[in-house]
Amino acid sequence: MAFDYDKWIRPGKLPHIWCPGCGHGIVMKGLIRAMETLKLKKEETAVVSGIGCASRLPGYIDCCTLHTAHGRAAAFATGVKMAKPEMNVILVGGDGDGTAIGGNHFIHACRRNIDMTYIIMNNYIYGMTGGQFSPCTPTGHKASTTPYGNPDPGFDIAKLAIGAGATFVARGTAFHANQIDKLIVEAIQHKGFSVVEILDDCPTTYGRRNKYKSVIEMMNRLKEVAVPVKAAEKMTAEQLQGKVLTGVLYKEESKPEYTAEYAKVIERAKAAK
Amino acid sequence: MSRYELRFSGSGGQGLITAGIIMAKAASIYEGKQAVQSQSYGPEARGGSSKSEVIISDGPIDYPKATMVDALLAMTQEACDKYTHDLKEGGILLVDSDLVTKLPTTGNYRIISFPIINTAKTDVGREIVANIVALGAMVALTGQVSRENAEKAVLSSVPEAFIELNRKAFSIGYERALAASA
């Protein structure tokens, strides 16, 4: 039997705003499958986003949804989670939203290890504003504001998250659609701050400036660069040149989770009263 | 109007804001008068100039800052130089005699000086309570709050472990000021 996505889609809110060939819809379907797998309660689940194409995702999902300001998803979500720790809080957004204007909130959410899951759709570009370069645009690539090639080095979102203290970090791609929900399921189940980076594509503002002839070519690139972590163990540095690791990159169980730690603060304060 | 203005001045870290707060608390909580305490301070937690002002009155206090100061405590030379300008004719000027060596040459003030910090160090045993020695002295000199009420305010403002130390500091300050002004 085919999977029933409609159960999680808000009636009347489709079609979505994404361009043909954009991978955000693939990620949304992965998220929906994950939510269904975990049997999340809609009323007990908040999906929070910032601004950008990817950040329009919450509007389509039938649960508690919060479309905040540019870069602020993690900070709004922290407020929601602290006020109602029993809720499942899932953040979605793009690379510019999450690592540039929202970079500070992102690293501090990682540091606190607050029990939320952040799905970052990394399409290397600011799509909604017309294709300006983001902190994840590869050096030398073209964007509407790097007409001579991007002089900036890019972020590795996964490394950033690990360095900042996130306790579950995974990476997938929009091509490997069947892996997305599995990574998200594991991320949501993890007690602590979990980050799932999904390498994505933007044919409209990134692909056409960087000589990708079609969406298929962009998707094929995702297929080619992705190397599962297990497979990578058997590969040489030379073979790994230009490749990107996918799967669960990092997992740590011992670091205390933030809302649980704050519950202890409450206990100590009440005892001291 | 019965408005009475006190200023506690010196350098940051000497505890003068605390001294001002306790004086105001004594007046407003224990003495049944009205009091407002305010302060100005620089970016330094230690050092820099520091001033704490207390207005005491029988009725409501509108302007919370000093207009003409009735009693001034100066714990550094800089504070003495800087804050004497609006001390009333005949007003009280209490200084630490070790630190304030140049007294104002103009103005007709009732100047009382004794080595406040050194008294705390040698007679009380801890330099850190110099502000309470100074407070005891200011209470004795100004007569705005009773000795008993001031002591209550002191004891309700310090951690339990330091109650005896502060009681002693307050008492010695009070007595030294009376002796110095006699």
């Binding site: 009323e43 300001a69 | 707060i21 305490q37 509108d62 302007y63």
Partner: protein, 377 residues
């Protein structure tokens, strides 16, 4: 039983006022001269099971309280000028998404870092014009420690009643001076609860105007599911660019305050009945003004004071009435002329508006005001 009294700073009183009002979430970032609020909240909130979080920056603090408010908490943040500037985008978010919250902003010298420990009243315009776009604005300017306590409670009430951010803006003098405060008993001051939905979840719309200009607000995690956005939205919370809906919604948001000015605006009239000169003042400056007015009276000058307690919405009606009664208006303020512009607007040229403007970190003293009172002929 005698009431509990204490000798507190304005900032400490603000925190206790928030707790009285039922505040159970504080998000903040350290900034002089407001940090005492955060410090008291960090001690008191966990004792009652509330949440205190120090965020990574001012914007994060504002975001956290908005998120927590949507999850049903009564929320407070405290800040000062530079922090207020940083929070402004999200204050606008709170206005358009109609999320109750209280922003306590201590006014210090500016612009930029300015004079962090010096008093000022130069943020009052930021309370109305700081965030972009048209939006309702409520801003209270207390003048004493007791009033700071009470006005913070009122701010929470207004915020819930009108479902909009409310600012409380003491100047640094009020925030840091200490006075005796008498705590009200439980129930003595009204605490307004959030208007929760009465319809079942499947019928709920977060901006349902069939319930009036202030629609009920459900909480995340309470059985209701709905969408919130900072985009112009329809009654169901989803974005729209339909001209008639956007126009109607923006007008409704502003009307929540505009149509209820008499419920929101508070002020004090002092010796105004026969006054020839009125000193209009707010915050700590009003204390100097009262002192000056008393001296003027002793000297035979018929002076009075109109004390602004609610700065926004501005007491237009009252000032207009005064302007046709008196010979002149004196406005002392610790900025280079902000309230004076509003007074000139209301006075419509009928009487002169004489300003005393100080931005040197020193309070405006009664003598300065007295001198200006005497200039009115």
């Amino acid at each position: 039983m005698s009431k509990k009294v204490a000798f507190l700073q304005g900032n400490e009183a603000a925190a206790h006022g928030a707790l009285y009002a039922g505040c159970d979430f504080f998000g903040g970032y350290p900034i002089t001269p407001s940090t005492e609020v955060a410090e008291v909240m960090s001690i008191e909130l966990p004792k009652i099971g509330g949440k205190f979080i120090q965020m990574e920056d001012e914007i994060g603090a504002m975001a956290a309280i908005l998120g927590a408010s949507l999850a049903g908490a009564k929320v407070l943040t405290s800040t000062s000028g530079p922090g207020l500037s940083l929070k402004q985008e999200l204050i606008g978010y709170g206005c358009i998404a109609e999320i109750p919250c209280v922003i306590y902003n201590v006014m210090r010298g500016g612009p930029s870092t300015g004079m962090p420990t010096g008093p000022s009243q130069s943020d009052v315009m930021c309370a109305k014009w700081g965030t972009h776009g048209d939006h309702p604005a409520i801003c209270l300017t207390p003048a004493s420690v007791q009033e700071t306590y009470e006005e913070v409670i009122r701010a929470f009430n207004l915020s819930e009643k009108y479902r909009t951010p409310v600012m409380v803006m003491p100047d640094e003098i009020v925030a840091h001076m200490r006075e005796r405060i008498v705590f009200p008993e439980q129930g003595e001051i009204e605490v307004v609860p959030r208007k929760s939905p009465t319809v079942p979840p499947e019928q709920y719309k977060p901006y349902d105007t069939s319930f009036g200009d202030v629609p009920p607000l459900a909480s995340f995690g309470s059985g209701y599911k709905f969408h919130v956005t900072g985009l112009n939205k329809m009654q169901d919370g989803f974005p729209t660019t339909k001209a008639d809906i956007v126009q109607a919604e923006e007008e409704r948001q502003v009307r929540k305050v505009d149509a209820n000015v008499d419920d929101i605006v508070t002020f004090e009239e002092y010796l105004l009945e026969d006054a020839d000169v009125v000193v209009v003042a707010y915050g700590s400056t009003s204390r100097s003004a009262r002192y000056a007015v008393n001296i003027a009276r002793e000297q035979g000058v018929k002076a009075g004071m109109f004390r602004i307690k609610t700065f926004w919405p501005f007491p237009d009606k009252q000032i207009k009435a005064l302007a046709s009664k008196v010979k002149g208006i004196v406005i002392p303020e610790m900025n280079l002329g902000m309230c004076s512009l509003e007074l000139e607007r209301c006075a419509q040229g009928k009487v002169p508006v004489l300003g005393i403007f100080r931005v040197d970190g020193e309070p405006i003293n009664p003598d300065q005001i007295l001198e200006k009172i005497k200039e009115v002929k």
